[in-house]
């Protein structure tokens, strides 16, 4: 679906992460990200046409977590603003739509969450069908392990392939100042460690992370004036699968495949991909669904296995790809975001610099 009529680019990005932040509340986590993204874009708050956030009330354990976020984003005089109870990558999608209507020319998008306040894995288990599945209290890791088992059974991949992804991600994360879990270990060393949720090891599971991220997007007119090398959104699409784990083939991701087609991933060469894989096996499923070959550099930031500030993790994938295009180290890249049990809902964004 699409490329859109108006050309829109990422012109600013900032993030903030911590393993377990006992010092700052959500507002204090968002402020530096918003300020950083604005500074990166060379824009002032009042120049922003539309503001939107993505967050999850259950992370803080109370209603309306996003309301106080307005204090960080700045909303006086009153602003055009919205919120999705989704990863902020979908907030970026809504912002892109708002620009497509012609109502606004730029948008501030932010996502945030403090996973350390509760038991993230149990909380995300409450996404399951509340009458049939949730009363059994499967955690998100339990469900991911079921998918990993189904995937290994359906393919030639083994646990050592999962460990290779974990090892590569942890090593890549060494160079990422925002990664909260880094390690220079080989796949063999990880394989020797205990399995916690068959067939997954601790190294296959994204770390609990507190954090936030903010992105500024704008039309070409603004982007070219403010930014040396804007990262243009060439295509963005998102799709959802049925949730029931028995309703879909867990070894594949049909919704990712549809979103990749809609976003036009295969319309050109892909230099880099940031994939929202919270578990090692998800990267293999997603890489296949996105149609990426082995030449593509995947998760050079270390990906979610290096830092996973839930509700901002997907938005950070877009920011990381955009940053590489803006720095000139890549020309065309794919960012992917996911949410829901076993990769239920997926968003794909293709970004590109001007030739």
């Amino acid at each position: 679906m699409g490329s859109g009529i108006r050309e829109v680019a990422v012109v600013g990005f900032a993030q903030l992460t911590a393993l377990e932040d006992r010092e700052h509340n959500e507002v204090e986590l968002i402020i530096p990200a918003v300020q950083g993204a604005l500074a990166d874009a060379g824009m002032e708050r009042h120049e922003i046409g539309f503001t939107i956030s993505g967050s999850c009330d259950y992370l803080s354990g109370g209603p309306f977590t996003f309301v106080s976020g307005l204090d960080a984003a700045g909303a006086w005089p009153p602003v055009k603003e919205s919120h999705v109870e989704m990863d902020a990558a979908w907030a970026l999608y809504e912002a892109w739509v708002a620009i497509q209507t012609g109502d606004v020319d730029s948008a501030l998008i932010y996502g945030f969450g403090k996973s350390s306040l509760g038991d993230l894995h149990e909380i995300m288990g409450l996404q399951a069908d509340p009458y049939v599945v949730a009363p059994l209290w499967p955690s998100m890791v339990d469900m991911a392990a079921l998918q990993a088992s189904a995937f290994l059974a359906a393919t030639d991949y083994t646990e050592s392939d999962l460990c290779a992804i974990a090892a590569r991600s942890r090593r890549a994360a060494v160079d990422n100042p925002y990664a909260v879990r880094v390690e220079d270990a080989t796949a063999q060393e990880l394989l020797a460690r205990p399995v916690t949720h068959t067939p997954l090891r601790d190294s296959d599971i994204a770390p609990i992370t507190d954090g936030s991220a903010a992105i500024i997007i704008a039309t070409r007119e603004i982007a070219d004036a403010r930014c040396e090398r804007p990262a243009y959104i060439r295509g963005i699409d998102h799709r959802v699968d049925a949730q029931g784990l028995g309703l879909r083939d867990l070894a594949t991701s049909a919704s990712t495949k549809l979103a990749a087609q809609g976003a036009g991933v295969s319309n050109g060469p892909v230099d880099v991909a940031e994939i929202h894989a919270q578990f090692s096996h998800e990267e293999l499923i997603l890489k296949e669904a996105l149609g990426l070959d082995d030449a593509v550099v995947v998760n050079p930031s270390g990906g979610p296995l290096g830092a996973n500030p839930v509700m901002a993790t997907g938005l950070i994938r877009i920011g990381e790809v955009a940053a590489r295009i803006r720095s000139g180290s890549a020309n065309r890249g794919v960012a992917h975001a996911s949410q829901g049990p076993c990769l239920q809902q997926n968003l794909v964004c293709v970004l590109e610099g001007d030739q």
Binding site: L70, P77, V79, V84, E94, T101
Partner: protein
């Protein structure tokens, strides 16, 4: 560039009741969605994308429940969005859905808002003590009652004004078979004698707690022109937000509400809302919010809202009926309440409001929702005719 023409093609809603024990959340939302599809003369396969709205997830105890609802709402393989903007969410959700069409991305979007309050307890859900924050433990009524007292002090309104609204909206609801409350014997004395909850709000000044869902099918100009039934053309949409608290903020007559109204009126060419609208469906969860929003929305000068209510201007036989459907005071599935306002406004201009249909002169109606600490606003103007 300007946004593309867009219209409401179909409207559906459940009967709103205190507890729907006969259906799951999925069953509830599907009931509203199917009615909207039938009304639009469409099938599930015709829908390009689904936009879901509801208030805090704690109201049902399901994290991001739209994920579990994806198959029930025919969203599998399609784009699906979940909006949450506090009490204004029903309105915001309809606007997000409309924008997908205005942007030329989709032709037909299904949007559904719901709340199944019987699954949990909303007052509990609203009063959780948050980390790093001082506890409020007030519920919504405890939050808004001081603002109402401030309004009464400022305007000098007599104390029975709220009760007038409480009676009027419940009498309107008698003509709406889907309304939750049907109180044929209600009068001023019953409201005044009902027990005091939060000064000056008495039990009958307050909205009920409902299970219910609302669904709209929004289509492009082409889809609207091919529609088999009447459509409601969208003449304008607007959203505005401001922070909850800061020194000098006017919480009684918030600037965000005034700015939002000015924006949507400019888009729709509304000069004098009292004359230019045939009716308004406005989010009035506590009776006193009718006079307060009459002023905030520019239907009269500041301080005069209560006079319109007292004169009966907002009654069904008044010059500007407010909440002919019975409003939030008669049905309140929280996350859906805003979309019900938007949908009821559409039904009026389509001539589909049944026994609570108002006469159409300008063919224009206002849908309004607000939320948070009177800080999130969403509004749309719908009309019987295509915008010029």
């Amino acid at each position: 560039m300007s946004a593309l023409r867009t219209a409401v093609i179909g409207v559906g809603q459940t009967r709103h009741v205190v507890a729907r024990h006969d259906v799951s959340i999925a069953g509830l939302v599907r009931e509203a969605a199917e009615e909207a599809l039938v009304d639009a003369n469409m099938d599930w396969a015709d829908i390009d994308a689904v936009v879901i709205g509801k208030a805090p997830d704690m109201f049902e105890g399901v994290v991001m429940p739209e994920l579990y609802l994806a198959d029930a709402l025919g969203a599998v393989g399609k784009p699906m969005l979940r909006v949450h903007t506090a009490g204004s969410v029903g309105g915001s959700t309809a606007i997000v859905a409309a924008k997908l069409v205005m942007a030329g991305i989709h032709e037909r979007v299904l949007t559904v808002a719901f709340e199944k309050q019987s699954e949990s307890n909303a007052t509990w859900g609203l009063t959780v003590e948050m980390p790093f924050s001082s506890p409020l433990v007030a519920g919504a009524g405890g939050y808004f009652a001081p603002l109402i007292r401030a309004y009464i002090r400022r305007s000098g309104a007599p104390t029975h004004i709220g009760h007038l609204v409480a009676v009027k909206d419940r009498l309107n609801a008698l003509h709406n078979p889907k309304a939750h409350l049907h109180l044929p014997d209600i009068d001023l004395a019953t409201v005044a004698e009902s027990f005091l909850l939060w000064e000056p709000l008495r039990y009958l000044d307050v909205c009920p707690s409902s299970d219910g869902a609302m669904a709209l099918v929004i289509g492009s100009e082409q889809v609207a022109k091919n529609a088999t039934g009447p459509v409601a053309w969208i003449h304008g949409t607007a959203m505005r937000s401001e922070p909850t608290m800061f020194a000098g903020r006017d919480q009684v007559n918030p600037l965000a509400g005034r700015k939002c109204a000015a924006d949507v009126y400019a888009q729709a060419g509304i000069k004098d809302p009292r004359k230019d609208f045939d009716c308004a469906e406005v989010y009035v969860p506590f009776s006193w919010y009718e006079p307060m929003w009459l002023e905030n929305l520019g239907f009269c000068a500041e301080g005069d809202g209560w006079k319109l209510t007292e004169q009966g201007a907002t009654a069904m036989d008044g010059d500007i009926p407010w909440n002919p459907s019975g409003g939030v005071l008669s049905s309140n599935p929280i996350g859906a309440s805003g979309m019900i306002r938007f949908g009821e406004a559409a039904q009026q201009v389509r001539g589909r409001a049944g026994d609570y249909q108002v006469p159409l002169h300008t063919g224009l109606a206002l849908g309004h929702a607000y939320g948070g600490g009177s800080q999130f606003f969403s509004m749309w103007v719908v009309g019987a005719s295509q915008p010029q």
